[in-house]
């Protein structure tokens, strides 16, 4: 894992280790200088062994959570990295000619590597002369260890010796003199094998391919490549070293493959290996890329592009797009803007404009510039050269880290709530310790110890618990992590992913130090709280006098908060980083609240009312800022922050804090209501009044307790809502398949149309098919009259034939009036010309950014206005579309928004007949969707189709397969998250147990008085139970309410990228969580409450 919440992990480790060392060092030194206090502190530990052990365990909780999160992240990251490394092998970069689709990013390519469809169907063949030109240019560059021409293609291979045996393998056509750095072949047994020795018509297979094909040397194989079936003989099964990684591979001399396929001197890849070994070579990737990319761009094209981009419009658009870009792309666009200051194109400029990631961003700008110059439908910013260098290994590793990092981030963010609960638990434990030793502390103070000495004593004692607790936490966390991974491994194995457990020593160090530092910080606060004893009150064992002074200290604190908050918000606004902005807002509200208490002190309001007014308003502000809809904030001149995962903890903490302020400063109102309600049962009224009086007067401990509970329930509710949303989005195969079972795509240009082939297929019976539908994508642009900037924007125009429109089963999230059901919409599109439906992805969410009147065009595609994803109905919306290749513009009326879970692609969907009216040529490529008869298996049909179609340039895939894989991952996440948050819930429940115990200890004498006055045992018992019950219920209700409200915003934010995720409340699950939490809490408070009832009044009054 390279980063943690966006910060390099190494930086985090070093910073935390330094903090830990400083804390430990200063405490040790201080302790050695005050040996008496140290001795007093240390001797406290064995006094109550069980309690000490419990405290250490409580303190271990934070470390357990951190260790579990980091170890799980390490395993995920390592697994994905291994998966990628196994696929890419020794190749660091590839030079390819992608199928012309400028919106396909390098990252897309990397994703295709990870899911096993590496570059398939996205490459075209190019002249081998390009390799020779590059090889001569790069001669002598010692950063490049190997360069070789190749044909690499995923193909279907049949073993003709075993009937029906076929497999999907990577076919490598390699030059016989390829550099051995890419991998040396060895016959099983150890003898090296030279590719030059391989006779014509022979092929090598690696162990994986041999196993999948059940092939043995000498057996005939048929390879379906580029529309041709090539018959070859298996020469040997070999170890292929680093070449091709661990996927099934067949190797054939390049010349032989070119000849057999009729592609003389044609290749589809140039493989590049950097200097270094398999893992370190990627470090040179950036340098090698900068060296090679300029060689792929034609100088004249570079000059033309440089001149175009130097225009004021282009520069303004580029500059305007900066805040919306991810950091990596932003750096590149900034570099591009700098390059535009130069007179002519430099090699750096050439490297930038041929970067596929940047190219995608420039796509929208290119088409807009073309429109302005009266050349619509063209992209002025496309480079004339079609070769691209893709940093496969770097991108793949980034992707691996992104996946591992994203998972860790989810764990860490959700874990942070548990950690926050743990921190509160630590504080409570220390306050309890102080309550137990109150008279001792009073006497120590009376004897001359200063407040700081008491803090020191608690710190020394706490340090021992901390060091022990963190070590225990590390061990438990590692074990819990291993258990989670073990449980997940079984789930993932079913889906063909092998989990590789991994624990980085760096993560262990981080977990230990971070756990210890967090605990230390909580102990410092707890010790400070504990040290604030009133000497006389402690010795007499009477309650501390109230602290009602609102002096300059509070004003200073408040003003500092406001100042720091404004600075943080300014910095956040300047850098576009949302986190400091969020922190800034929270600090300003905190500062205002604290300062307002001082400002209002001259108004004659009582301290209680002042506190109520200030904290209630502060709380409302905090809650409103994070939960208010974006539109409302914008209307108030505020910029809404994204409710993304990295801000989630801050948002959660802020709304919980705000709500706790609101609750605890108005608890007496609740007390009046409850007492009034309980008036009929006088005993109940008295118990309710006494219980609530304690809660209302002890605001800090009540707030801490409700806060602990609310935080845990909040995080559980959010996780539950998110999982339900993703479950709904990904677990309904029918919604994703849209009524179809198998998809057949063209892998090469010019492949025949499936429709014409179906009747003659030997392996598939036509009667097995219920429907064979066709979908074609026309490159188009669209404009919506009267909405947003009146400009043509690129859109995928999906053309559906009648068979498709008859068989499709996908639903709509919104329909125009007059269509009684989903089928009626499809039927209308089929029967009436000029009707269309729009993909869910092309529809905005309510509250999202509206279309700017003249917004940046960099990277923005067409999105329809006038309907939102949340809407259930819509008015018909007219749009105009035109094919970028020619023809007339046509008007389409959109009458439905397609369920975003449907997997047919993005853009507008209309009938092929409607499109024909534009006069544009039909698109060359088409995808077929097959609907099978009920008793026909999709997997068998897919295999049969592949066997028959591979030599025709077509590939079939089972649509439900992907759904199954996603379901597996969802289940895994579900299990991991539930287990993870459960640890936090334990902390919350333990916290309430601690609070109840503390209350009994603290109020022993008061219990004596109550008993003396006539409270029965049962009444005292009920008082304590009711207190815990109210705390738990308030925490549960606040947690559920806030969890639902914030997850609504979170889903709204996620929905911009994943529109298939919808807000849906799992009431059953939430009810179960609430009931379990409440019952568990009551169980933990039963004992202290019982003990309270058993307090002997005579003994209690003697204290």
């Amino acid at each position: 894992m390279e980063t943690l919440l966006g910060i390099p992990t190494t930086t985090v480790v070093v910073a935390v280790a330094i903090l830990f060392a400083l804390g430990l060092g200063s405490l040790t030194l201080n302790g050695l200088r005050n040996r008496l206090l140290l001795t007093l502190a240390i001797r406290n530990i064995p006094r109550r062994r069980t309690q000490s052990a419990l405290i250490a365990l409580g303190l271990a909780l934070g470390t357990v959570i951190i260790t579990t999160a980091l170890n799980t992240g390490d395993t995920m990251s390592y697994t994905v990295r291994s998966l990628v490394a196994g696929t890419v092998g020794r190749t660091d970069e590839v030079i390819v000619q992608p199928v012309r689709d400028a919106r396909r990013t390098g990252l897309d390519v990397a994703q295709s590597i990870a899911n096993g469809t590496f570059l398939t169907g996205a490459l075209t063949l190019f002249d081998q002369g390009e390799y020779e030109r590059l090889a001569s240019e790069l001669t002598g560059d010692d950063r490049i260890a190997g360069l070789t021409p190749a044909i690499v293609e995923s193909v279907t291979v049949a073993n003709l010796a075993v009937e029906g045996r076929q497999a999907q393998v990577q076919l490598y056509g390699l030059s016989p003199d390829y550099p051995t750095i890419f991998g040396r072949f060895e016959v099983v047994g150890g003898r090296p094998l030279d590719l030059a020795e391989l006779p014509t018509g022979k092929v090598l297979a690696n162990l994986e391919a041999g196993a999948e094909l059940q092939a043995e040397p000498g057996q005939p194989l048929r390879v379906y490549y580029h529309g041709a079936g090539i018959d070859l003989e298996l020469a040997a099964i070999v170890n292929n070293g680093d070449l091709g990684g661990s996927q099934p591979v067949l190797v054939i001399p390049l010349g032989a493959l070119q000849q057999a396929a009729g592609k003389e001197r044609q290749i589809n890849q140039i493989l590049v290996a950097n200097r270094g070994d398999r893992t370190s070579s990627v470090q040179l990737s950036e340098e090698v890329t900068r060296r090679i990319r300029p060689l792929l761009v034609d100088s004249a094209a570079a000059e033309r592009l440089h001149a175009l981009l130097r225009s004021d419009l282009a520069r303004a658009e580029l500059a305007a797009s900066l805040p919306t870009l991810d950091p990596r792309t932003r750096t590149k666009v900034e570099a591009l803007l700098r390059e535009l200051d130069a007179v002519g194109p430099s090699p750096e400029f050439k490297a930038l404009i041929s970067d596929p990631e940047l190219e995608r961003r420039l796509f929208g700008l290119g088409t807009r510039l073309a429109s302005l110059q009266g050349r619509p439908g063209t992209n002025l910013l496309s480079t004339s050269s079609s070769l691209r260098l893709i940093e496969v290994k770097r991108l793949s590793q980034d992707l691996a880290d992104r996946w591992g990092g994203a998972l860790t981030a989810v764990f860490v963010v959700l874990g942070l709530f548990s950690i926050a609960t743990g921190v509160m638990l630590v504080v409570l434990i220390f306050v309890l310790l102080a309550a137990e030793r109150r008279s001792e502390l009073g006497i120590t103070r009376a004897l001359g110890a200063k407040s700081r000495h008491l803090i020191g004593m608690f710190l020394y004692e706490g340090l021992v618990y901390d060091l022990l607790g963190s070590a225990v936490g590390l061990a438990i966390g590692t074990a819990v992590g291993a258990l989670l991974v073990l449980a997940s491994a079984n789930v993932l194995q079913e889906y063909g992913i092998e989990l590789r457990p991994r624990v980085e020593p760096r993560s262990l160090l981080l977990a230990y130090c971070l756990g210890a530092v967090l605990t230390m910080a909580s102990i410092v606060y707890g010790a400070w709280r504990a040290s604030r004893v009133s000497v006389v009150a402690a010795i007499r064992n009477v309650p501390d006098p109230p602290r009602t002074r609102y002096g300059g200290r509070w004003l200073l604190l408040g003003s500092s908060g406001i100042g720091l908050g404004i600075a943080a918000a300014w910095w956040g606004a300047r850098t576009g980083w949302a986190l400091p902005m969020g922190v800034g807002v929270a600090l300003v509200v905190l500062g205002l609240t604290l300062s307002a208490r001082v400002w209002l002190s001259g108004t004659g309001l009582s301290a209680h009312r002042r506190d109520r007014v200030c904290y209630s308003l502060g709380g409302l502000l905090l809650v409103a800022y994070w939960l208010a809809p974006g539109d409302l904030l914008r209307a108030g001149g505020l910029r809404p922050l994204p409710r993304s995962m990295d801000l989630f903890f801050l948002a959660g903490l802020s709304v919980v804090l705000g709500t706790i302020w609101l609750i605890v400063f108005n608890l007496d109102l609740l007390s009046h209501v409850l007492t009034w309600l309980a008036e009929r049962r006088r005993g109940a009224a008295l118990v309710a009044r006494t219980a609530l009086a304690y809660l209302a007067r002890r605001r800090s401990s009540t707030g801490l307790a409700i806060g602990m509970f609310a935080l845990v329930i909040f995080s559980m509710v959010v996780a539950s809502v998110l999982l339900t949303g993703t479950h709904r989005a990904y677990s309904d195969p029918e919604a994703m398949r849209g009524g179809f079972d198998v998809k057949v795509e063209q892998t090469v240009g010019g492949a025949p149309d499936l429709g014409s082939l179906l009747p003659e297929l030997q392996t598939v019976k036509l009667s097995d098919l219920a429907a064979a539908a066709r979908l074609q994508v026309a490159p188009a642009e669209a404009i919506q009259p009267g909405h947003g900037a009146q400009m043509w924007r690129p859109v995928g125009l999906q053309l559906l034939d009648d068979a498709f429109l008859n068989a499709v089963g996908s639903g709509f999230t919104a329909r125009a009036p007059g269509y009684r059901d989903d089928a009626a919409v499809w039927s209308a599109v089929r029967e009436s010309s000029g009707l269309a439906v729009v993909a869910g992805l092309a529809v905005r969410r309510r509250g999202g950014e509206p279309t700017a009147a003249s917004g940046p065009a960099v990277g923005s595609g067409f999105r329809i206005d006038g309907v939102f994803q949340e809407d259930a109905s819509m008015q018909p919306l007219p749009v105009w579309v035109r094919d970028t290749r020619g023809g007339q513009s046509i008007k389409l009326t959109v009458i439905g928004v397609l369920d975003p879970r449907a997997s047919f692609g993005n853009g507008l969907f209309t009938s092929a007949a409607s499109f024909a009216e534009s006069g544009a040529p039909p698109p060359a490529r088409s995808t077929h969707f097959l609907k099978l008869q009920p008793d026909v298996g999709a997997a068998d049909t897919t295999r049969a189709l592949n066997l028959a179609l591979s030599d025709r340039g077509l590939r079939a895939s089972e649509i439900g397969d992907e759904v199954r894989r996603i379901q597996g991952l969802r289940m895994l996440l579900n299990e991991l998250l539930e287990g993870f948050i459960g640890v936090g819930l334990l902390a919350g429940i333990a916290g309430l147990g601690v609070i109840s115990t503390r209350a009994v200890v603290e109020r022993r004498q008061q219990i004596g008085v109550m008993r003396a006055l006539g409270f029965s045992r049962r009444a005292v018992h009920l008082c304590f139970l009711l207190e815990s019950s109210i705390v738990a219920l308030l925490g549960i209700v606040a947690g559920i309410g806030l969890g639902l409200a914030l997850s609504y915003r979170l889903v709204e934010h996620l929905g911009r990228e994943y529109p298939e995720i919808f807000f849906s409340v799992p009431w059953g699950q939430i009810g179960l969580i609430a009931t379990l939490a409440y019952c568990a809490t009551m169980l933990t408070t039963l004992l202290p409450a019982y003990q309270a009832g058993r307090v002997s009044p005579a003994q209690a009054l003697r204290l």
Partner: protein, 274 residues
Amino acid sequence: MSASRRMASQSENGTVVEARGLWKRYRLGEVVVEALRGVSVAVGRGEIVAIMGPSGCGKTTLLHCLSGLDDFEAGEVLLAGASLGGMSDDWKTELRARATGFVFQSYNLLPVLSAVENVELPLLLVGARGREARQRALDVLEQVGLRNRAAHRPSELSGGEQQRVAIARALVNRPAVIWADEPTGNLDSEMAREVLDLICSLNANNGQTFVIVTHAPHVARRAHRILRMADGEIVGDERLAPLVLDGPAFGDAAGGTSVLRGTSALRGTSALRG
């Protein structure tokens, strides 16, 4: 038999509390301490009785045993006519709520309740209605001179004021007897005098019975009787002034003169009885 009925059957001879041959032992580790050794004592209605003696002589233990706060090993205690020996904790609790009041050295008001809420607590415990209880509590606060401090919490009152609130709380149910354990122990001399004046006036005007544990001779001198204790035994019983019962019958829960008598609140048993 309910506690009220038990109380109603108390002797009519004017004795509020009586102990006969009371024994109480504590175990402190391996050592057994005999805190009370066969103590016999009787306190009459309208008396102020001071119990004096050195620390550890058993004064507070005697008070706790007489008031039903603590158990004893042998002997018998009759409180408001009811025998505490073998009485269940719940009955004792109800008896305390109806027939006794307590004043402690550290005042021991519930810090989270206001003065008036503290005072009305005993009334609510025996089932009084909220409005009646509040009015009665305010009346008693008026009596102790703290009507204007009713809404204040204990932390906002001086020590003397807190102790007066504690006396009001003890008084509010018109108990048969008020037990006071070092009631002036935490007060300066001026405040102590005020509190003692209040106790004496309540006794003189209302015939309220007080049993006061004290170290202070000047406190004991204000009582009608001084019981002197040493080593768990009563070693002296000195009557300082004759007992005059000329005030209105106050605090005889058993005698049925409670101001709350006849209200619906007292018709049933305590709502809190377990």
